[in-house]
């Protein structure tokens, strides 16, 4: 085992040179690259953290905005619902009022129509009764209706109190006799003869008018005595009215049972 000091010295120098060379070409570049990469990764991680933080904050902000929007939406929905309800109620009330108005109008029209109908019925009825009764009496008893009316009127006068009759002729020189039908001379004479016990020598002035409904009336000083078929017509009218009202109530019941009708 021998030691060559020259070689030892040369190897020491070689080794120191190698240390410098490797430090220059290996360690420094590699360590530098690793440090730079670490720095790069650290900066990327930091940037990622910052982005994550920003994203989290943004997410939080979006969540807040979303909850605000949901609340707003709920408020709007509730408001719309309430308004819809109110409008519906209003429309219903309007419709009810309109229906009530229409019903009222219809009733008024119906009543008017009914009244007109009844009036027409009364007139037509009176005329028809007159004609029918006249024909019946002529056919069966060979007697004129007008004569029978006059007889009936005279009979009624006989039943009246004397005070009322006196009031009729008081302070009068003439009395107005109004009939619905025209009186012939014979009938006028018959009437004069019949009324003679009540009117004395007072003059009878004859008139023809539609006012006494198929009858006769005698007008004096503030007193009027008459007979006509108004009572029969009233009964007929009442019967027709009952019939109409019954029909009307049936129609109303049907319309309530079926609202679309």
């Amino acid at each position: 085992m021998e030691l060559d000091w020259l070689t030892v010295s040369a190897q020491v120098v070689n080794f120191l040179i190698l240390v410098w060379l490797l430090k220059r070409f290996l360690y420094q570049p590699v360590v530098g690259a690793m440090a730079e990469r670490e720095h790069l990764i650290a900066s990327q991680l930091e940037a990622a953290c910052q982005r994550e933080q920003a994203a989290r904050e943004e997410q939080l902000a979006y969540k807040k905005r979303r909850s605000v929007l949901i609340k707003k939406q709920q408020t709007i929905l509730e408001k719309a619902h309430r308004q819809g309800k109110e409008q519906r109620q209003q429309l219903l009330e309007q419709a009810r009022a309109e229906i009530a108005r229409l019903v009222k109008q219809w009733r008024q029209e119906l009543e008017e129509e009914q009244a007109n109908y009844l009036l027409r019925l009364r007139e037509e009825g009176a005329r028809a009764i007159m004609q029918a009764t006249g024909r019946i009496l002529a056919d069966l008893a060979d007697t004129a209706l007008e004569t029978k009316i006059i007889d009936r009127f005279v009979k009624n006068l006989e039943t009246l109190p004397q005070e009322e009759l006196r009031q009729l002729v008081k302070d009068r020189t003439s009395l107005d006799v109004t009939t619905t039908f025209p009186l012939g001379n014979e009938q006028q004479c018959h009437l004069v003869q019949s009324l003679k016990p009540f009117t004395g020598d007072r003059t009878l002035v004859f008139h023809q008018s539609d006012r006494p409904r198929c009858g006769i009336e005698v007008t004096g000083e503030g007193v009027k005595l008459d007979w006509n078929i108004a009572r029969y017509l009233d009964e007929l009218e009442q019967q027709m009215l009952d019939l109409l009202q019954d029909q009307q109530s049936r129609v109303l019941m049907q319309s309530k049972g079926n609202p679309d009708a």
Binding site: M1, E2, L3, D4, W5, L6, T7, V8, S9, A10, Q11, V12, N14, F15, L16, I17, L18, V19, L21, L22, K23, F25, L26, Y27, P29, V30, V31, G32, A33, M34, E36, R37, L40, I41
Partner: protein, 236 residues
Amino acid sequence: MTITSDSLLLFTLGHFPVNATIAFTWLVMALLTITSMLITRRLNTDTRISHWQNLLEVLVSSIGKQIGDIAGRGADQYLPFIGTLFIFIITSNLLAIVPGYIPPTASLSTTSALALCVFIAVPLYGIANEGLAAYLRHYIKPTLLMLPFNLIGEFSRVIALAVRLYGNIMSGTMIVGILISLIPFFFPVLLQLLGLITGVIQAYIFAVLAMVYISSANTTHQHFIQKDGDGAPPPV
């Protein structure tokens, strides 16, 4: 049979005789430097790197980690010295597989030179880190009586360091040479493989011991060891 490559004179450079030890050392130096230059020429600092760069980074960071495990904090300053020791020895030893190549580490001159470098590096790093007075106080601890023993210990461990590496590598080369002359086939190949393993282990041992010697003369290292509760150096 040549015991050492120091006596194998290859050529002279002026008045300087260049023997096989020096020549092969230059070869190893050139190989390491050129390889480092080639690989580190295009280092990428991005997250995607080449396989060669990855290999180099693994090598350097592993050496740095080993140094850090022994020295504790401030390990970066030892990386060029200890790393070069390891890389030079392991390359010298592994190239022994190449026919005609004589490892420089099989020369006592080389191992002595390396041990001498460690011998000089220990006080240099100690003084640099702690100052001259603090470093010199290590030799009189725990008492002044220990000064001669400490000095003997300093020298003896340098000699042990040099002879251990020289003995291992030289014996491996010698045994292979003897066996080739006796049993020319198969068996020398196995011993060659064993020599490679021994070479790697010896490189590791030399580097680790050098690091232990340097860090033992360093207060930072002492504090690091005490803090970890492990007073003993790593087993060799």
